[in-house]
């Protein structure tokens, strides 16, 4: 067999090697598989096509890995920002100077002035609380992903839905509040208990979902590569 490889074949091999580099370390066997399959292509053009597809697959795998980890942390940060943002939003929409303690975030309520707006120290304290929570959530998300990628994806999707529901409810309440001719029902919606329930559920729901996702899956036949 001739050892002289065409330019196209060498290009295909370089592409496959690149795919192998892009793949995460725990995918080393798949990297080797892609390179081997490229070598076995009968024509140079087929080899280039196969290797190009392998590159696409490797980036999909890398991006999926990065996105899952980043998304869990990002969701937590976004959620915490949403909690604090909703506080500001309710302040603005309700135009109340004094908000019941139960409806505000603890740091802001402790350090906010009579205007009900955030103070710099309140913002700093909120960030100091948010960052460790985000780090812990990131670690949890990463551990969950390694335990069960499917359930990690389910937990992330559920958290996104919970976030969306929460934000939509805050906006809806704000819109209702500004409609003239409010009745007893709208007054009840404005109640501090409802707002507090929304905030608690927003924080608790993702945690419950993550805890639920940590439950062991039903036993399945393990896949053992036969030799």
């Amino acid at each position: 067999m001739s050892t002289n490889k065409s330019l196209a074949r060498r290009f295909a091999n370089r592409l496959a090697a690149h795919a192998a580099c892009v793949l995460p370390p725990h995918r080393a066997e798949w990297a080797r598989a892609m390179r081997a399959e490229t070598e076995h292509q009968t024509s140079d053009s087929a080899a280039v096509r196969w290797a190009a597809g392998s590159v696409v697959a490797s980036y999909i795998e890398r991006i999926f890995l990065m996105r899952s980890f980043a998304l869990s942390a990002g969701l937590v940060l976004a959620g915490l920002a949403a909690i604090e943002g909703s506080h500001v939003l309710t302040q603005m929409l309700f135009q109340q100077q004094a908000i019941d303690l139960l409806t505000t975030s603890l740091p802001a309520s402790l350090l906010a002035g009579d205007s009900g707006t955030f103070t710099p120290l309140g913002i700093l304290l909120t960030v100091m609380i948010s960052v460790p929570v985000a780090i812990v959530s990131y670690a949890l998300g990463r551990a969950l992903f390694r335990l069960s990628p499917d359930r990690a994806r389910t937990a992330i999707k559920a958290t996104i839905i919970a976030d969306a529901i929460f934000l939509a409810s805050v906006i809806l309440i704000g819109l209702i509040r500004t409609v003239p001719g409010e009745g007893p029902l709208l007054a009840a919606i404005q109640s501090t208990a409802v707002l507090w329930a929304i905030r608690v559920s927003f924080v608790a729901l993702p945690l419950v979902v993550l805890l639920y996702a940590h439950r062991p899956e039903p036993s399945a036949t393990s896949a053992v590569s036969s030799s």
């Binding site: 066997e29 076995h40 697959a57 999909i60 499917d150 399945a220 030799s227």
Partner: protein
């Protein structure tokens, strides 16, 4: 018993191909030729199936001289049940009528 989510059309196509010869080891190019899927689509599906213990893999025992061993794949027992279930429930929608009821 919780029902499995519907697999993508590409995954269903691959599962049907693997069901054609469930106990045979098949390499990637063979599966690509059978399903019409390109490697960029095929490998992510194979990886996901393997992660879920629905697919097992091994290296070719006797590689061609001068060439590396190929990676071979086949369904596990769980994967076989999963594939049959998916094809039975969603195969018609995906245009896999030929695979329905032929892989007991």
């Amino acid at each position: 018993m919780r029902k499995a989510r519907r697999a993508s059309p590409q995954t269903l196509t691959l599962l049907a191909a693997l069901l054609e010869q469930p106990r045979e080891w098949r390499h990637g190019y063979d599966l690509a030729q059978t399903t019409g899927l390109k490697s960029g689509t095929l490998y992510p599906i194979l990886i996901r199936l393997a992660d879920r213990a629905l697919l097992e893999s091994r290296w070719q025992e006797t590689p061609e001289r001068g060439r590396p061993a190929r990676h071979m794949y086949r369904l596990t027992g769980t994967g076989l049940s999963y594939a049959q279930d998916q094809i039975a429930r969603f195969g018609a929608e995906a245009g896999l009528d030929d695979a329905l009821g032929s892989h007991a």
